[in-house]
Amino acid sequence: MNIEIALTVNGETVRETVEPRTSLADLLRDRLRLTGTHLGCEMGSCGACLVMLDGAPVHACLVLAVQADGQKVETIEGLNESGHVSDLQAQFHDRNALQCGFCTNGMVMSAQALLSDNPRPSRAEIRDALSGNYCRCTGYEAIVDAIAATADRRAGIGETVE
């Protein structure tokens, strides 16, 4: 039995008919072709599939598409186009805080959520906030640096990176 749902994805209204078992991640990736949301473990451990659901980060692999009915979803594609994370993106680029890029979507989501809740986190708090984001390439330090630098810039400290 398929279910009809309607949700807002990156500001656009989307109507789809899905199986009840379809995850939000599969809806985004396979139906809507928003492939910036990645799947690394499909059990909520790795953080590669994080998206914003009504403004808060959720694992798109653990949320069913039907649960997102009537809600607002933002993916990395939407955040990118909105310009809301352009400073984070610039710092990640400047600090080389990504290598293969597979975790990056989730890192940006976690960072954005952290800085919304706690605009001036310590390095330990940043590391703690990334406790659900696995990165195999960087060793994390550059990511911590990029988030700390973004927090500084948002607080008016330091130079902005283009």
């Binding site: 199986e19 078992r21 990736r29 396979d30 072709r33 928003l34 492939t35 910036g36 949301t37 990645h38 799947l39 690394g40 473990c41 499909e42 059990m43 451990s45 790795c46 590669a48 993916t75 990395i76 594609e77 955040l79 990118n80 993106q89 990640f92 680029h93 400047d94 080389n96 990504l98 290598q99 293969c100 890029g101 597979f102 975790c103 990056t104 979507n105 940006v108 390095r123 940043i126 590391r127 703690d128 990334l130 406790s131 984001n133 696995y134 990165c135 195999r136 390439c137 960087t138 060793g139 994390y140 330090e141 550059a142 990511i143 911590v144």
Partner: protein, 784 residues
């Protein structure tokens, strides 16, 4: 003329990183092709047994299912593969084919392939396959596998010994007989796995109308797979194209041949339509290669002054039911016994290696092949010798490291070192970490019941391998790389090169190198990688060769094009090309620096108005260059790492406080990317030192095969990593780069183990097993 070094050595940012930040990565997992089918596999739930019954009729009739393959219907399309190489004399391994035939040889061995319109439907149908296996006793433990009468782990082998070798210098016995002190220890290095965040992914697309097979595969070695698919499926090489787009991590894991990739190609060839296989995380754990899994007993002889006289090492490593193809599962152990004691003058040595079959997932080459084992054993024994002699860890190393002015040097195991910088690195590390302050702080804290430890570990890393690695053993694995550099009609530069990018920054450094040869900026150089149809053939990325071999290839290709451009410019300007040079996007007068003609104008004339060139002037704006290392069989880099830890002796939990690396990778092409390679590598060394382990029960079942149970290092546990450099370029190449991809992983675990043991020393406890879990530390302390 020789181009400048305006961009080589600069911290250029990676242009391709911007795509990932925008959510515009292009991974195989993101690709969807028309009429594509999705594959899922029924796998053996048992480590060893015989297939008594296999009935796929219900699965074949399930909704969405298009085809079900078993060994009977799929294996005949593929010539079997055997993971042996001739230069590993006497090694053996049984031939393999795609799906299990008769015997199942590890828990996870694929038995049936189901193709459906969606992965979900394929997985649903897997549940409908009737698979009855008569369980047999699995060969689980490597030592037991070698006992007389042990059942063989696979069919067609007479014992579980895959390979055995011994290296020995004539003076070994005398060295131990004359030693003032002999220290010895037994070590266990756990099995772990790559856990690339993007799992293995492949889409095979065979077009029967043209006979063309295109394989989109997340791999670091597209040419190797082009060759494998052509040979094993009987296709002309020109009809096989392998494309590796963005790859979500590889670290050596994605360069081996796997049953599932072969099955995907076979299925596409049979059905004439695209077939996709993407491993889910659970099947990654039981099908991706695992790494390490060594038991080592080792002793070291030292004289009364602390001079290292000899090491005697026995390594038993356990590799699964087959040696991997086409690189074998022997290279890891081979490098373990050859890298022992590498930083030291040590004159005598014996290394014994036994590579053993068992019924587990295959192990094979993973980042820093063999290095962490050799480094951890060597450095643990050096620390034990220092303890016996009451020497500081820095002092005993200062007395034994090969002197910076004593090169070339040949190690006791036969490695030839061109020039390394151990002494400079040791001194630099001491200063970088403020060693003396840390020691006094450590002593102060011990009085308060806080147990901190400091560990150091010098290392040598093998890089830039020539054909001696695989080619001499008969493997069709390229030791050379190739590049085509061209000037576009508009005056931009494009470089197509065989080395590949997995995020380490290959494309960025190639752009920097080419830019410097042609007097342009790196952002004017578009680099293409990862496609066998559009780049020249080459070895690609493994064993730390992207910068050293790929970089040199790009440099020489750039210089060749530079000469062609200057010849055309000379003809146009009626000037001697020797008086011209390239800078600022133009041809300049090399004496005055004055601009003579832009590259765009050269491109325009050579492309649209070659009729205006003098007769006989070659208008070619493309240059091709291949390069294979000559001189030394491999390059070696060196460095030293230090770890600072705090062990909670009540809980056994170790906190990583700080990590330092001094590294000498030769010429640094991009300091930002070099440092991030080191940091990422260090964390891949610390992971298995403290957390990562593929745990198996007595029946051969992996018991923690999920990302909830297998512990990977996360941001909260990892320390900040401070890095300094020494720069000793190799003289074998113009560029002088040696490579840096494995340096971090090589010694991080060794430094950490020494640090933990330094913390435990006042309590009389020692640990010599990784990962150093809280339980193992508490056991070492006698608390459990």
């Amino acid at each position: 003329m020789t181009a400048g070094n305006e961009h080589i050595g600069q911290a250029h940012r990676r242009g391709n990183a911007l795509r990932h930040l925008a959510g515009r990565g292009r991974f195989v997992t993101d690709l969807a092709l028309p009429r594509m089918l999705h594959a899922a596999f029924v796998r053996s739930p048992m480590a060893r047994g015989r297939i008594a019954e296999l009935d796929v009729s219900d699965a074949a009739a399930a909704p969405g299912v298009v085809r079900v393959f078993t060994a009977e219907t799929l294996n005949k399309t593929c010539a079997p593969w055997t993971g042996t190489l001739e230069h590993f004399a006497g090694m053996k391994s049984a031939p393999q084919n795609i799906l299990a035939e008769g015997a199942v040889l590890w828990a996870g061995h694929p038995v049936t392939m189901i193709l459906a319109h969606s992965r979900a439907e394929a997985e649903d149908a897997c549940e409908l396959v009737l698979l009855d296996i008569e369980e047999e006793e699995a060969v689980v433990d490597g030592d037991a596998a070698l006992l007389d009468g042990a059942a063989p782990a696979s069919e067609g082998i007479d014992s579980n010994l895959c390979f055995r070798t011994v290296l020995e210098t004539p003076g070994l016995d005398d060295a131990f007989a004359s030693a003032a002190h002999v220290v010895e220890e037994s070590f266990t290095f756990g099995r772990h796995t790559a856990v690339t965040l993007e799992p293995r992914a492949v889409i095979a697309d065979f077009d029967p109308s043209t006979g063309q097979l295109t394989v989109h595969q997340g791999t670091q070695t597209p040419y190797q797979f082009q060759d494998v698919y052509a040979r094993h499926f009987g296709l002309p090489e020109s009809k096989v194209r392998v494309i590796a787009p963005d790859v979500g991590g590889s670290f050596g894991m994605k360069l081996h041949v796997y049953n599932e990739e072969m099955a995907t190609v076979a299925a596409s060839l049979t059905l004439g339509r695209p077939v996709r296989f993407v491993a889910d995380r659970l099947e990654s754990f039981v099908s991706d290669i695992h790494a390490r899994d060594h038991r080592v007993t080792a002793r070291m002889a030292v004289d009364a002054a602390g001079t290292i006289l000899a090491m005697d090492v026995d390594d038993m490593t356990q590799i699964g039911a087959f040696s991997t193809y086409p690189r074998t599962s022997v290279a890891e152990g081979n490098q373990v016994i050859r890298l022992m004691g590498a930083p030291y003058r040590m004159p005598d040595y014996r290394g014994r290696l036994s590579v053993v079959f068992q019924n587990k997932v295959q192990t094979s080459q993973y980042r820093a092949v063999g290095h962490p084992i050799a480094c951890a054993v060597t450095e643990a024994l050096v620390d034990r010798a220092a303890e016996q002699l009451d020497l500081d860890p820095f002092e005993i190393r200062a007395r034994n490291l090969v002197a910076d002015d004593a090169y070339p040097h040949v190690s006791a195991t036969g490695y030839q070192f061109e020039k390394l910088s151990h002494q400079t690195s040791l001194a630099k590390l001491r200063q970088l970490m403020d060693y003396d302050t840390l020691r006094s702080e450590q002593a102060e804290l011990r009085r308060q019941g806080i147990y901190r430890g400091i560990g150091i570990a010098p290392f040598v890393e093998i890089t830039n391998p020539g054909a001696a690695f695989y080619g001499v053993g008969g493997a069709r694995i390229s030791a050379q790389d190739g590049a085509v550099v061209r000037l576009t009609p508009g005056g931009d530069v494009q470089c197509a090169i065989s080395v590949t990018e997995q995020g380490q920054g290959t494309e960025t450094i190639i752009a920097q190198i080419v830019a410097d040869q042609l007097g342009v900026t790196p952002d004017q150089v578009k680099v293409t990688t990862g496609d066998t149809d559009t780049t020249p053939s080459g070895g690609a990325t493994w064993a730390c060769r992207g910068a050293g071999i790929g970089g040199e290839t790009a440099l020489r290709a750039g210089r060749r094009l530079q000469a062609q451009i200057l010849a055309i410019a000379g003809a146009v300007l009626q000037a001697d090309p020797a008086t011209l040079a390239l800078a600022g996007g133009a041809v300049i007068d090399s004496g005055t620096g004055r601009e003579r003609i832009t590259l765009a104008e050269i491109g325009r004339i050579a492309t649209y108005r070659p009729d205006t060139l003098p007769e006989g002037c070659d208008n070619s704006l493309s240059a091709v260059q291949h390069f294979a290392p000559t001189g030394y069989p491999f390059d070696f880099t060196n460095g030293i790492q230090a770890s600072h830890v705090e062990v909670d002796i009540e809980t056994g939990v170790t906190r990583l406080l700080k990590h330092w690396v001094v590294e000498d990778c030769g010429r640094i092409i991009n300091p930002l990317l070099v440092d991030e390679q080191i940091r990422g590598g260090v964390v891949q060394g610390l992971g298995p030192a403290f957390f990562e382990e593929c745990l198996y029960d007595d029946m051969g079942q992996m018991t923690n095969a999920s990302l909830a149970d297998y512990l990977v290092p996360m941001a909260g546990e990892m320390p900040d990593i401070e890095i300094a450099h020494v720069e000793t370029p190799t003289l074998d190449t113009i560029l002088g780069a040696k490579g840096v991809g494995e340096a971090g992983t090589a010694a991080a675990g060794a430094a950490a183990m020494n640090a933990v043991n330094d913390a435990l020393r006042p309590l009389g406890a020692r640990i010599s097993q990784t990962p150093m879990t809280p339980l193992r530390i508490l056991t070492a302390l006698g608390h459990v």
